[in-house]
Symmetry: none
Subunit: 214 residues, 2 copies
DNA sequence: AGCGGCTGTAGGAAATATCCTACAACCGGT
DNA sequence: ACCGGTTGTAGGATATTTCCTACAGCCGCT
């Protein structure tokens, strides 16, 4: 029987996804994990047909889990779920080896479809993401001073920090969420500012806001 | 039989809540709405024992629905759910007549308990909110909350500081510009935050930006 | 195989910001 | 005139942030 792992720190969301899958007639055994560590633990102990990972969990996020799995050469399909409309993330994740990307906005049947596809080893690329993918090909070597694309030069980690800073979290909180030293976050911050040519957190916030990343 | 209305724009969340309530043995007929208008519509057509409203829905938010209901003298108990930990809203909402306030972090059984209580016409005040309530008694504040005019309550000095902070200047720089002690600026900052119900400089920036004050 | 540059991570010290508290001047109501 | 709340201002103690520096692991290029 199909075996799925759902990792999300919010009970409501886990239950909701289970319910939706059941309603859609997806017949599967489901294991729940409420953070990245539990998810990895579970994967170590059992075999899953697919993982549904929330991108933003405290401690180890979905991305971390994804990367770690790939690093240890585990190819279980991973469907990433984001609570926010951070379309920006989609590309990064697909490149990092995710089998699909959905936001919480997604209609229930999209979730079911996506799950069915990834379980079969296919990828689930939503129209929106497909478009982003296409765009990214064109703009590949286009002019670097596009202004609204300065954030693409950031590494994944930097980008994560970027978003949190833009939302107004301080290094301390971010460090906790990602369990990294405050110092590390501070380093990311300065690299971000440097790379993007900004000077203050307020500019980060504005940038993110103008590009609808919040 | 108990009849509940759940309004949230995210299907996952609705399903999750339903599942959690069922698991907790709450026996009720449940109607779903995916935005504020549908919620109001539903209330017009049927009688509910309680409404569970998501605070942040596009279009008409939970707050809007709550206000409108109260305005038309409907006293159905309303339990407000927030996806974020914006504790500051809690007070506004309780004052506006909500029967309780929960965040998505809340454990499943808290949701069930809260629902049971409000259905019986009681209020559900979490410890956290209770504390906020207590605090607010000291700092009594008349709320003429028009929401996008929150800055009008600021004094001139406060407003000047507000703008500078929103632009990303730090207390030190502002203090220099205005020849005031850094400490003074810090005081203004906290009064501003307090008066406007914001928590971070990033929120100041966003507020200013959205209201085209930058 | 070696080099230079990025990336992820963090330490120490110095700079800053924040919190809580305080107080005088002022302002409106009784 | 007196009282309570609001405003302008700032001190002390703390907590947080920022800056500069460092270093190991990779990656691509020669």
């Amino acid at each position: 029987m199909t075996h799925l792992l759902i990792a999300d720190d919010h009970a409501v969301v886990r239950k909701g996804m289970i319910q939706i899958l059941r309603d859609a007639g997806v017949d599967a055994e489901i294991t729940e994990a409420s953070d990245g560590h539990q998810a990895l633990q579970a994967v170590r102990e059992q075999r899953f047909d697919a993982l549904l990972l929330d991108i933003s969990m405290p401690g180890k996020s979905g991305i971390d889990v994804l990367k770690q799995l790939r690093a240890q050469d585990d190819h279980t399909p991973v469907l990433v779920l984001s609570m926010y409309a951070e379309e920006q993330y989609a590309l990064r994740l697909i490149r990092a080896g995710a089998a699909g990307y959905l936001t919480k906005e997604s209609a229930p049947d999209q979730l079911a479809t996506a799950v069915r596809m990834v379980v079969q080893g296919k990828r689930y690329i939503s129209p929106e993401v497909a478009e982003l993918l296409a765009d990214s090909l064109n703009q590949r070597q286009a002019d670097a001073d596009d202004d609204s694309n300065r954030h693409t030069q950031l590494t994944d980690r930097e980008f994560q920090v970027f978003l949190q800073l833009a939302r107004g979290l301080g290094p301390t909180e971010i460090g906790q969420q990602m369990n990294l030293s405050v110092k590390t976050i501070a380093s990311y911050r300065s690299r971000i500012l440097q790379k993007m040519g900004l000077r203050t957190n307020a500019e980060l916030t504005l940038y993110a806001n103008r590009n609808a990343m919040l």
